[in-house]
């Protein structure tokens, strides 16, 4: 039976080693990997959809730390230096736009008179004295080949909607990402008359006085046109198209901000889908506008961001904040998105512009 008993020193040595190992592990466990008071800097945020044909407008903001007692109020970052570079062209320096139309914007909008072009790569670099340097790159794709849009009034889930059958042709050789959205652009209605080949505004007192004097002159009458105010109202969309990626975001009976398609199932072919635009805000006598139905071809990064943004907005209010999935973009050392798009649109007027 001697083989049953291990030498005493062996047993003792095993015990000693075991306790030493336990001690080491316990000490190692005391290291804190995570804590709730971990320090993190605020970050610059770019929220830009750069669209072919539009003038340069880049909304740039900053994050706010949220914790117990933090005030949620967004601050502008007008002290940032913003440089935009178009591929094979010199860089442009953008300046903050202090126009009243951006006064309520939660970001600083940096503008320039240049216009974005299709099929072009743009790089942005922002240098901020305290928030550091952030960079991002975006490609504006080619215009989508919009073939046709047919509209008719309809009902969708007991709502009055404008049904729009949209047909476009996909490119065979490119992976394309499509977004459909509808906005009502706020407009100012300008009233004017032409007198002696010169345009006079009827919206000013001086113009009204002149009109009173010359109104009996043959050929003189009050005309009107509109000017976009660069302010928009979101119009909810519905779809029953299972090919849309919205089918994986929420029930198709629910409203969406944007409708998403990838060209996997119709690569190189014509594709027709129907979107239903909620008519609730088509007509507003207090703030007149025009409805813009847009088919956009967007870059991959913008597409992914917008899709996650859609999911975020759908979930917001339906799930606790700790379960919300924040959209992630392409901004190095910052947050948000710098993405390109090219759009074709149809404009409809429902307000009486008198």
């Amino acid at each position: 039976m001697k083989c049953l008993t291990a030498p005493y020193y062996l047993t003792k040595s095993i015990r000693k080693s075991a306790w030493a190992a336990v001690l080491i592990v316990l000490l190692a466990s005391c290291k804190k990997n995570f804590s709730s008071d971990q320090f993190e800097d605020d970050k610059l945020v770019i929220l830009a959809e750069i669209t072919a044909g539009d003038s340069v407008k880049i909304p740039i903001g900053k994050t706010i730390k949220v914790e117990n007692g933090s005030l949620i109020r967004f601050e502008k970052v007008n002290d940032a230096s913003v440089t935009l570079t178009e591929a094979n062209s010199p860089s442009w320096v953008l300046t903050p736009n202090y126009s009243p139309q951006y006064a309520t914007n939660p970001t600083s909008v940096f503008t320039n008179k240049k216009h974005f072009k299709v099929n072009t790569t743009y790089k942005i670099e922002i240098n901020h004295p305290t928030l550091g340097i952030v960079k991002a790159t975006a490609v504006i794709p080619n215009y989508p080949k919009l073939i046709n849009v047919d509209t008719s009034s309809a009902q969708f889930n007991d709502k009055d909607v404008l049904a729009a059958n949209i047909t476009w042709k996909d490119s065979l050789d490119k992976e394309e990402f499509y977004v459909i959205e509808a906005l009502k652009e706020m407009v100012r209605v300008n009233h004017f008359f032409i007198y002696q080949n010169k345009r006079y505004s009827y919206d000013t007192q001086q113009g009204k006085d002149l009109y009173a004097q010359v109104k009996n002159t043959p050929g003189i009458r009050i005309l009107s046109d509109t000017t976009g105010l660069n302010k928009f109202t979101r119009l909810n969309l519905y779809t029953n198209d299972n090919n849309s990626e919205n089918a994986r975001i929420d029930k198709l009976t629910n409203p969406f901000r944007r409708i998403f398609f990838i060209d996997q199932s119709f690569n190189g072919n014509y594709y027709t889908t129907t979107v239903f635009i909620d008519k609730q805000f088509f007509v507003d006598p207090t703030q007149k506008g025009r409805v813009r139905l847009q088919l956009k071809s967007v870059g991959r990064e913008l597409y992914n961001y917008l899709k996650l943004y859609e999911k975020y907005k759908t979930d917001f209010g339906s799930v606790p904040t700790n379960q919300l999935v924040s959209p992630t973009g392409n901004v190095q050392n910052g947050l948000g998105i710098f993405g390109g798009s090219a759009k074709r649109e149809k404009i409809y007027y429902f307000d009486v512009l008198l």
Binding site: L4, T5, A6, T11, I14, A18, A21, V25, S29, N33, F34, S36, Q38, E40, L47, A48, P59, G61, T63, I64, K65, V66, E67, G69, L71, I72, R73, F74, Q101, Y102, P106, T107, N230, K231, F232, T233, R234, N242, A247, R248, D250, K251, R257, F281, K307, L308, Y312, D315, G317, S318, V319, P320, T321, N322, L324, V325, S326, P327, L335, G336
Partner: protein, 860 residues
């Protein structure tokens, strides 16, 4: 590598069978024609008249030695034992020949002794209930055996007289004398001790080297009573490495795995959600249970399908002698178990039923909680002849739970239904087979309401997410146990299964949905699995034990097929009487993925099968253990382990709801995980005291490409420290007092730490339907960066046992659950609107706060 391991295991199998045949050759009948003669003369006689040919050369055998036979040997073995005594030879058997080859040492004394099997069923004398893991010990040879789950045992004994001791905790040790002339069936009946608390450890017990720390405690202490309901599985929560997470489905987490990685078997049949009250109480009614085992570090090859643990619950056959029962009335529920013979010694029936009745009290207290559950278990056992036994099992259970509290407004219903028919057969002295066919069904319906208010407190949104899923599993399995010798046991078997998942659906509306029929049906997801397993238990001497095994499974779902080779190894080295070390390695594969909507406080589980994109989950684990036992009944264990997980699931980013069955695979993403830790336990059981302390130190990591920028992050239940302390004091034969206290580090969670302007707002797009104050985007820069407050709870209880009459005993138990009202779950949320200050809101979930209870149990 795994295939080579399998080849090695099968080689072992071949060697064992050869060895087993040798024994048969020696037992053949042969009587020499003379009693005295030379070695050569005896060998020649065997060659001419005997049952085998012996080949040898006289170079290394003293053939001239004169042998006089003693006794009257009648087999080849007993003759050769005397003829070849002290000869330095080895014996090789080939084609019915015995070849004698030279050897530096003589043959062992008992080399040619013929051994026969003694086998049978060990049962309780009073009820005829088979006893699992009863101990059979042969002191003369210092060897022994244990009965299996069905009471079957077998032990090889030398021809002639032998004495055996048969013991079982709580029963009188029985001594039997046998005169072995051939394989003998001996069914053994043990009688319970008059005072079952007395545990006598004598030298007449066969001391196994395997760990015994994975059995559920049979005693009722405060740690395994929930509001007056005894729950045998709760004693597992005392074990290090096993975490109890109440208020989630199947709230058991083992060694860093998620709840779906535990396989729960009720009489061999899979139960998908074995809990009531969202994990607070198991579905197993204590009075119907015969044995319960939890495997978390060394998995026998017969088990598979779960990465983290296997809980194997065997229920009683039912009393074959007379009718008995037990009734229990507690705060939470009432239950009874009745068992008795349909035909004495031939067939029995056991019925166990439990129904909750706390709901009216909760309503009266305006608690906002509604609880309603039941479980029913019926078992019928029939012996057919002396060798065959049939067992029919049926189980049904259902839960309905309502939560209407501050921040939660949930409704949940789930239930299991299971049925099985098992057949046991004693194939002979050394083989036992258990075959069963099983059906198991699980349904889960859950609804979750989340309201959104604007800054004036006006309700702006009311959404109820309703989900429904169900799963049905059919399988047929068989296990053959063969005892090649006292030192070698073989388990071999297979299983074929078919699983059909009725997929998830979700319905978003304004109210809860009660009926499964109101959900849209989607095409079912079905898969098949075929399993073969083989395992050895080898005890080469009294110090070593090792158990190599292999579990091979083949899976197919539509066109996707996968074969998994899962080696298992468990080995123990006994250093001395007090100290032993062990090592195990396990590879496990799991084909079912459980995906859970990441909403708090809701049991919204959905199962999905493995596919070409969603590969099976796999784990590799290595465990090193140390055990110390002393003569003062102190047990100390320590284990270190490292476990790697592959293809664990999480919802893909931005895909936290299943809405489209065709694309469900895209909603789930695969990642990897790893967990490691130290688990220690100290336990002392005396006549007066039961003392227990366990401590776990563990780390638990996950890594998914699409989460946390691909960086590792701690798993939700990454609890660094966990401590359980329990004590029971037996004051006298009537009174005992228990206390249980647990402490655990808090869980990790994510919360937004930054907020930035809304994208549409930045584009000058306003949404008249969305409140302006919520136009912001929350951002969480690191996953699971925060940790909740620690959890701790104290329960106390006292029991009074009395004998009401000769056959009726009673137990009155009173106690307080969660004596200082500690929460069992913390949920953190962030409230914030534009222009106001953000606020972190902490919700403390607790089904039962400070809850006194009383229960009364009568056994008859």
């Amino acid at each position: 590598m795994m295939k080579y391991y399998c080849i090695l295991v099968f080689l072992l199998f071949s060697v064992e069978l050869t060895w087993a045949q040798k024994v048969n050759l020696f037992s053949r009948s042969y009587t020499p024609s003379f009693q005295k003669g030379s070695v050569a003369a005896f060998l020649d006689d065997i060659n001419q008249r005997g049952p085998a040919i012996i080949e040898y050369t006289s170079n290394y055998i003293d053939t001239g030695r004169i042998i006089t036979l003693t006794g009257s040997p009648t087999t080849l073995g007993t003759v050769l034992q005397q003829v070849l005594q002290e000869q330095k030879i080895n014996v090789v058997e080939k084609n019915n020949k015995l070849i004698l080859t030279p050897s530096p040492t003589p043959l062992p004394d008992d080399f040619f002794v013929t051994s026969y099997s003694v086998y049978g069923i060990i049962k309780e004398a009073v009820s005829g209930e088979p006893l699992a893991e009863a101990n059979i010990f042969n002191p003369a040879k210092q060897n022994g055996s244990l009965s299996n789950d069905h009471g079957y045992y077998t032990l090889l004994l030398p021809q002639g007289k032998s004495i055996l001791y048969i013991s079982y905790a709580g029963y009188n040790t029985q001594r039997i004398e046998l005169d072995i002339k051939g394989s003998t069936r001996a069914d053994i009946y043990l009688t319970p001790k008059s005072d079952i608390e007395e545990v006598t450890v004598t030298s007449s017990t066969y001391k196994t080297t395997e760990k015994e720390d994975n059995k559920a405690a049979k005693e009722t202490n405060s740690n395994n009573i929930v509001l007056g309901e005894s729950d045998v599985l709760r004693s597992f929560y005392m074990d290090p490495g096993v975490k109890n997470i109440p208020e989630i489905t199947n709230g058991m987490l083992v060694r860093g795995g998620s709840p779906d990685e535990n396989v729960f078997l009720l009489d061999g049949n899979t139960i998908f959600n074995p809990t009531h009250l969202l994990g607070t109480l198991s579905i197993v009614n204590k009075t119907s249970v015969k044995s319960t085992q939890l495997y978390k570090s060394n998995f026998p090859a017969r088990y598979g399908g779960g990465l983290s643990s296997v809980i194997d619950v065997m229920t009683k056959d039912g009393n074959m002698q007379e009718w008995h029962g037990e009734a229990n009335a507690g705060l939470l529920a009432g239950s009874f178990t009745v068992e008795g013979p349909v035909k004495k010694d031939r067939s029995s029936v056991m019925v166990s039923f439990r129904q909750s009745w706390i709901d009216p009290i909760l309503r009266m207290l305006n608690s906002g909680i509604g609880v309603n559950f039941y479980d029913l278990h019926v078992k019928f056992t029939q012996w057919i002849g002396k060798k065959d036994k049939l067992m029919f099992n049926a189980y049904a259970g259902h839960d309905k739970l309502l939560l209407r509290q501050n921040y939660s407004n949930n409704q949940q219903q789930w239930g299991n239904k299971a049925m099985s028919l098992a057949w046991n057969r004693l194939l002979g002295p050394r083989a036992f087979v258990n075959t069963s066919i099983n059906i198991s069904n699980y349904d889960n319906l859950a609804g979750f309401r989340y309201n959104l208010y604007d800054s004036t407190g006006h309700l702006t949104q009311n959404k109820v997410y309703n989900t429904y899923s169900s799963i049905r599993h059919y399988n047929a399995r068989t296990t053959l146990e063969i005892s090649a010798s006292n030192a070698v046991k073989i388990d071999v078997g297979g299983k074929a299964s078919y699983t059909r998942i009725h997929p998830f659906d979700s319905n978003v509306g304004e109210d809860f949905i009660d009926k499964p029929g109101d959900f849209s049906a989607f095409p079912p997801l079905s898969f098949h699995e075929v399993v073969l397993f083989y395992e050895n238990e080898i005890r080469p001497d009294k110090q070593f034990f090792f158990r190599p095994g292999i579990h091979v499974s083949h899976y197919w779902y539509n066109d996707y097929q996968y074969t998994s080779w899962q080696p298992r190894l468990y080995s123990v080295y006994k250093i001395d009487q007090h100290n032993q070390v062990d090592m195990s390695y396990n590879h496990m594969t799991q084909y079912l993925h459980l995906v859970t909507n990441p909403y708090m406080g809701i049991n919204s589980d959905a199962w999905v099968p493995s596919t070409a994109e969603l590969n099976p989950e796999e784990s590799d684990m290595i465990n090193l253990g140390y055990t110390y036992r002393d003569s003062k009944k102190l047990l100390v264990t320590a284990d270190v382990y490292y476990k790697q997980l592959k293809n664990v699931t999480n919802y893909a980013e931005g895909q936290n709801l299943f809405l489209n069955t065709a694309d469900w695979g895209q909603s789930v993403q695969l990642g990897k995980g790893w967990t490691y830790g130290l688990e220690t336990k100290a336990e002392r059981i005396t006549d007066k005291w039961y003392l227990h302390m366990s401590y776990t130190l563990s780390w638990n990591w996950r890594k998914f490409d699409g989460i946390n920028n691909g960086a590792k992050f701690p798993f939700k239940y990454d609890r660094r420290h966990e401590l359980n302390v329990a004590a029971t004091w037996k004051y006298n034969k009537h009174w005992n007092f228990s206390a249980f206290w647990m402490f655990a580090t808090g869980d990790v969670y994510s919360l937004p730490n930054q907020v930035y302007p809304d994208f549409d707002d930045a584009q000058q797009i306003s949404d008249p339907l969305a409140p302006r104050e919520y136009r912001l985007i929350y951002h969480s820069s690191v996953t699971n960066r925060y940790r909740t407050l620690p959890y701790h709870r104290l329960d106390v209880s006292a029991s009074y046992n009395s004998q009401l009459s000769k056959k009726i005993n009673s137990r009155l138990t009173g106690g307080v659950y969660n004596i200082y009202g500690s929460p069992s779950q913390y949920v953190y949320d962030l409230e914030g609107t534009l222009g106001k200050r953000s606020l972190v809101v902490t919700t403390k979930y607790q089904f039962f706060q400070v809850t006194p209870y009383i229960s009364y149990t009568v056994t008859f």
